[in-house]
């Protein structure tokens, strides 16, 4: 049995490595401006934040709607601390060059983004984690909005540039960068879930009164889950800043959190691979595959297709989402993970069913 498990692990790792290799090859072959890369970049960023939200909602059962606020913190921290010193006067043009006059290297900036988000999560968690599910959701949503208002306040402009964009910070060119960072972070989260901490989180999700009776320190573990989830949300915020090349507080609205929630639930609450898969599908569908529906001058032969107008793509996309939500009530992956042993079992089960059928007809 041990040997089989090890074999499965090696196959899974090989498959993941193959995916990265394929992307590297595609990067060299296809034109750099192809939409495929945009989708892969954005998809991997959203995959990370979706998994972090899944850690909180799906594995610990804490319904939190504050993800956009932590992404905002991460994005701004990264941007503020990595803008090169020569560019600061131009970027902070209404605030006399801003308060911060040094700049950090990229990796330090990303880690700092996560740390700042986690720190704020710790502070927010102290009062808020005592609340029951829906109240927790609305309280975290409230904090996200308060943070957004603070970052647009012009009194803090020396730090945050107020209502104006932050830009000129270092960005990435290759698609492999966000995919690698997201991959590493997701791997860490998976290892966490498979550890004793992960089991404690699942116990809290299933029945927190029983978990407490079994000796799990509820407050401590809830805070841990909240802080860790926000750490990774902060990192994904930094990656998003690098993808967009500009950062502005106005875009981190609650609508962003709802999108992430959609991705998580469609993928399956409690399934990491589900979140990753549904993130890529969601982004591909909303940004790329349906773009042709926005073109008002579409002809099939000489027949002018009616109804096609800017805005039609979003309507179709919403209908697709509703269809998936109604058909896949537990999400695409349910609460199972995508694994080689799972596929192996399915093949074996199908073989057994075929054999049984043959027996029956004999």
């Amino acid at each position: 049995m041990e040997k089989e498990k090890k074999k499965d692990l090696i196959i899974s790792l090989a498959v993941i490595a193959a995916v990265y290799a394929i992307v590297a090859v595609l990067e060299a072959v296809l034109p750099r401006t192809s939409m495929l890369f945009t989708v892969l970049k954005k998809g991997s960023i959203y995959a990370l934040v979706a998994v972090s939200m899944n850690l909180l909602n799906g594995f610990t059962g804490l319904f939190s709607l504050g993800q956009a606020g932590f992404m905002l913190l991460g994005a701004y921290t990264y941007a503020i601390f990595t803008i090169p010193v020569e560019q600061r006067a131009a970027v902070y043009q209404y605030f006399d060059g801003g308060i911060i006059q040094f700049s950090l290297p990229v990796f330090l900036g990303i880690i700092l983004a996560g740390v700042v988000a986690a720190f704020f999560a710790y502070l927010i968690g102290l009062p808020v984690l005592k609340l029951k599910s829906d109240y927790l959701a609305i309280a975290t949503l409230g904090f996200a909005e308060i943070i957004r208002a603070l970052f647009q306040w012009d009194k803090l402009g020396g730090l945050t540039n107020g209502s104006n964009l932050l830009r000129r910070f270092p960005v990435f060119k290759s698609t492999l960068f966000p995919m690698t960072v997201a991959g590493i972070c997701i791997a860490i989260i998976v290892m966490l879930i498979n550890s004793t901490y992960g089991r404690a989180f699942k116990a809290i999700r299933d029945d927190d009164v029983a978990a407490e009776a079994m000796g799990i320190n509820l407050a401590h573990h809830k805070r841990l889950a909240f802080t860790i989830s926000s750490f990774f949300a902060g990192i994904s915020g930094a990656l998003l800043a690098m993808f967009q090349t500009t950062v502005q507080a106005a875009q981190f609205k609650s609508a962003m959190t709802y999108e992430i929630l959609l991705i998580v639930v469609i993928g399956g609450i409690g399934s990491v691979s589900g979140s990753v898969i549904s993130s890529f599908l969601f982004i591909a569908c909303s940004e790329w595959w349906l773009r042709f529906l926005d073109n008002a001058d579409t002809y099939i032969g000489s027949f002018h297709v009616p109804l096609l107008r800017p805005g039609f793509r979003k309507v179709v996309f919403s209908i697709v989402i509703m269809a998936i939500v109604l058909l896949y009530q537990r999400g695409i992956m349910g609460d199972k993970e995508f694994s080689i042993s799972g596929i192996r079992k399915k093949i074996a089960a199908r073989k057994a069913a075929k054999a049984k059928k043959k027996e029956g007809t004999k």
Binding site: K132, I138, A149, L262, R330
Partner: protein
């Protein structure tokens, strides 16, 4: 008197927006009380009511199109429940919630597609859209009418819930879903009635809101919807009087904050208020104390 005089425009605006939030908040709190579901699409139903009035008013005279749109909104609420929430009644709560989010997106995107992205303007309603003067402050008549209309509707609603059969059924279902079913209550009718009533109130609220602030865009329902939901939570989710009082408090505070010059935080302040209340009263002002059964 001096404070009152200088702050009168803000108080009037606050009372009027408070009333409008209250009419939306009732819809949220009633649905939550019965289904434990946050109906994210409710704010967009509010917006749809306005669009229906605008489009029908270009063909029909206002005294026909207005009631027609209100009835149509009630039907819209009914349809949304049947399509998006009924199939998911046995599914995990999260799925029902994202079905609500998905429905909200769908309505917003349909509105965007149909209007072509440009703002639509609400037709002026005779009598209530007129400008009048109150103690030296100029405002529209609708700001003064709103609190009275709101109170009247709430009294009607509370009487329905207390004295009619359907009202008792609603109370029973919100207290204990399964037992009420066992007792022979027709669940589907109760739930449909809840949605229809909530949507009708939202439609009336939208008439009052948009006669005052006439710009209608696809996303105009987002912030009022969220604030109304906060009001419902603030007052104790599941409690109608709580939702109404919460809504008025939020509406008035929001405008007073603007009057004090802290305009940047006028939206964020609503949430600060909410969090402060939840710290001391975890189930809101009039919420029920729930016991934890193991």
């Amino acid at each position: 008197m001096g404070f009152f005089q200088t702050n009168l425009p803000y108080l009037l605006a606050g009372i009027s927006t408070g009333g409008q939030y209250a009419l939306i908040a009732i819809g949220y709190t009633m649905v939550y009380g019965i289904l434990r579901l946050i109906n994210f699409a409710h704010g967009d139903v509010f917006m749809c009511a306005a669009l229906m009035v605008i489009y029908s008013a270009s063909y029909l005279p206002l005294y026909i199109s207005l009631p027609l749109a209100i009835v149509a909104t009630g039907l819209l609420g009914f349809a949304i429940e049947r399509v998006a929430y009924k199939p998911l009644r046995t599914a995990p709560r999260m799925s029902a919630m994202i079905s609500a989010i998905g429905m909200s997106y769908l309505i917003q995107n349909l509105a965007l597609y149909v209007t072509g992205g440009l703002t639509k303007y609400y037709p002026p309603v005779p009598f209530i859209s007129d400008s009048i003067e109150i103690f030296g402050a100029m405002t529209k008549r609708v700001t003064v009418i709103t609190p009275f209309v709101t109170l009247f509707l709430i009294i009607v609603l509370v009487s329905i819930i207390k004295y009619t059969k359907i009202g008792i059924a609603m109370r029973a279902v919100s207290r204990d879903f399964e037992t009420a079913q066992l007792m022979g209550v027709k669940i589907n009718s109760v739930i449909s009635a809840t949605f229809v009533i909530g949507s009708l109130l939202a439609a009336i609220g939208s008439t009052l809101f948009f006669s005052n602030y006439t710009g209608v865009t696809p996303t105009v329902g987002g912030m009022p919807g969220l604030k109304a939901f906060v009001a419902a939570v603030f007052g104790g989710i599941g409690s109608i009087p709580g939702a109404v009082i919460g809504a008025f408090i939020i509406g008035i505070c929001e405008n007073l904050i603007k009057g004090m010059g802290l305009t940047t935080f006028s939206d964020a302040f609503t949430f600060v208020l909410l969090i402060v209340v939840l710290m001391f009263m975890p189930t809101g002002l009039f919420g029920e104390k729930a016991t934890d059964k193991v």
